[in-house]
């Protein structure tokens, strides 16, 4: 089912959280809302879920206006950053909740519920833990239970608010790959909110980058990364440094020992070297302007150059960008 958001505005008190936001998520798409905190991404997600109402604008599910529908009528699955599991219920009962609260006419019988919850437990690889309480699970396990609980009601859309935000780095990476595979299997339109650009670019089919309650750019990960619409998007999607008044990615700064004079040569001294990691981070200070510039070079190149703090080098930019403000 497709989701369409048209001209949504929302204020909390005097603070404008969303300023005329429109976007469309196609059926079966995995869509990321990416932005720094306070950009309005979570508010937008909550409005789609019906947990918050917009001041103006409309929400459409499959072209059908759902703006006024209550959360319980929208058939959306919502996954919270802090899981929001029912802690007095077992894992099994948590997952079964959405089925048990259905009106009598549409409520499945006990046998069907058991079968369905059993399948979901298998899907989240927690079959043996069905009768545990949430407090007896790890963070990653809890989030998987929350996801299964949301999926149990066969939602028309799945909404995830910073689903991996409370987990440690390794579990995050595991879980987001798992989410991607799960999505490919289920193919339900999903929107997830994150402030982690790596997560958004790795997992999503399309990304919307938000700032100050506005969408700055929407597109496929490669598209927004390669042709960012403005300096904010460029800076948010990766590290950047200023060179000759233009934006450059640190890995596009070239460092060489060749300090002979030339028309475009820029000379600098090495200030700092961070050599733990796949790329070596070098900070240099320009001789002429005193500006500090960040660079990233491969370990191989680093060894070749045999750089030390205080060394005199020349620098150049392979690619750079200018944005009209």
């Amino acid at each position: 089912m497709s989701i369409e958001v048209r001209n949504i505005r929302k204020t909390f008190g005097s603070f404008e959280v969303l300023r005329d936001v429109s976007l469309r998520v196609e059926d079966g798409e995995l869509f990321a809302l990416l932005g720094p905190s306070g950009s309005g991404k979570t508010s937008l997600l909550r409005i789609i879920a019906g947990l918050e109402y917009p001041d103006s604008g409309t929400i459409h599910f499959n072209e059908e206006d759902a703006t006024k529908a209550a959360a319980r009528e929208r058939q959306v699955g919502f996954v919270f950053q802090h899981y929001a599991l029912f802690r007095h219920m077992t894992v099994f009962e948590n997952i079964a909740f959405g089925l048990r609260v259905r009106p009598r006419e549409t409520r499945p019988n006990e046998h069907t519920i058991r079968e369905k919850v059993g399948k979901l437990l298998k899907l989240i690889q927690l079959t043996p833990l069905g009768d545990r309480f949430p407090s007896q699970l790890s963070g990653g396990q809890r989030q998987r239970v929350a996801l299964a609980r949301a999926l149990a009601v066969e939602p028309r859309v799945l909404l995830l608010d910073e689903p991996f935000g409370a987990l440690d780095a390794r579990v995050r990476k595991e879980l987001r790959r798992w989410l991607r595979n799960l999505h490919d299997e289920l193919h339900v339109a999903s929107v997830f909110v994150t402030h982690d650009q790596e997560e958004a670019l790795e997992v999503a089919d399309r990304v919307a980058i938000m700032q100050h309650g506005r969408i700055e750019q929407t597109g496929a990960p490669a598209e927004v990364y390669d042709s960012p619409a403005n300096a904010f998007v460029y800076g948010f999607l990766g590290d950047m440094t200023l060179f000759n008044g233009e934006f450059v990615r640190p890995h596009d700064i070239e460092i060489s020992r060749d300090t002979g004079p030339g028309p475009t040569a820029v000379f600098a001294t090495v200030n700092f070297i961070g050599d733990a990691g796949g790329l070596v981070r070098i900070e240099v200070r320009r001789e002429d302007t005193g500006e500090e510039i960040q660079a990233e070079i491969t370990r191989e190149r680093y060894r070749e150059l045999a750089l030390r703090v205080g060394d005199y080098v020349s620098i150049a930019a392979r690619h750079s960008r200018v944005f009209s403000s």
């Binding site: 947990l51 599991l85 909740f97």
Partner: protein, 280 residues
């Protein structure tokens, strides 16, 4: 004999805390209570049995336990509504209402008893309207219950309030996005989280009601076999210098209330099983 303690863990101060608790309980609770038992024992079994099984005493136990139970149940319902209103809604005068909740703690109970009696007596402000309807409050078991609700209410409100305050709003949102209606959210999601606190409030209000004397003696009318409470009979025995008899009545009450509180504690322990955070 060897005593086994749960391993106290790395937090310091286990032994001082443990010794202090035992010392305190001994001085303030155990010694006075054992005096009651010792005094009872001086009477001999037949006299004890005779005292506590006399119809007047049995009737007083019935009044005491019946009214305390009814009052504790009423306090749980009313107290929960008050706590809910205080935590969930903003309304003018909220902080005044919040402060008023504690008044029964501070007010001398006799004052409460006299005020309630003058309100609910057949000629009182409220009593005169209730009398024609056939509702007798003052000088009837209902009056005792009313007085005990007054006394017990703050215990319930104050035990439930912090739990309501801590309640995670997202859990309600999760439930409603899963299709649950308002009542289902309340009964299936919120209420189970409040249950342990409600039980605590119930136990406190109930225990306080059993021991309450000051407010009840004014409103109950103290009719033998009808509205006499057990603490009143204890005082009566004391005034007759029948110390062993008074102690016997007290002992029977103590044992009964201890068993009830123990039961409540067990139920409560079960209802908060899910809070155990042990990773196994």
């Amino acid at each position: 004999m060897q005593l086994h303690f749960k391993r106290p863990g790395i937090l310091p101060g286990f032994w001082p805390a443990y010794c202090y608790s035992v010392l305190y309980l001994t001085l303030i609770v155990l010694i006075p209570l054992s005096a009651v038992f010792l005094k009872t024992a001086t009477a001999g079994w037949t006299k004890i049995w005779h005292t506590i099984s006399s119809p007047r005493v049995v009737a007083a136990y019935e009044v005491s336990f019946g009214a305390s139970l009814a009052a504790a149940l009423a306090s749980v319902v009313i107290g929960f509504v008050i706590a809910w209103a205080l935590e969930r809604y903003e309304f003018p005068g909220k902080s005044i209402v919040d402060a008023l909740v504690d008044i029964p703690f501070a007010l001398p109970t006799a004052v409460a008893g006299i005020s309630l009696t003058s309100l609910y007596a057949p000629s009182g402000w409220l009593g005169r309207y209730l009398e024609p309807l056939g509702i007798k409050v003052a000088f009837a078991p209902l009056g005792i219950t009313v007085a005990l609700v007054f006394i017990g209410l703050p215990f319930v409100v104050r035990s439930v309030q912090p739990v309501l305050e801590d309640a995670d709003h997202e859990v309600e949102e999760a439930a409603s996005s899963l299709g649950a209606g308002r009542w289902q959210v309340f009964w299936r999601v919120l209420f189970p989280a409040f249950r342990p606190a409600l039980l605590t409030g119930f136990a406190l209000a109930f225990a306080r009601g059993l021991g309450e004397y000051g407010s009840v003696v004014f409103i109950s009318g103290n009719l033998p076999m009808k509205t006499e409470i057990a603490p009143l009979l204890i005082i009566a025995k004391l005034e007759e210098y029948d110390y062993a008899g008074a102690a016997a009545i007290a002992t029977a009450m103590l044992v009964a209330s201890f068993l009830m509180l123990l039961l409540i504690n067990i139920v409560q322990g079960r209802s908060r099983r899910f809070m155990e955070t042990k990773l196994s």
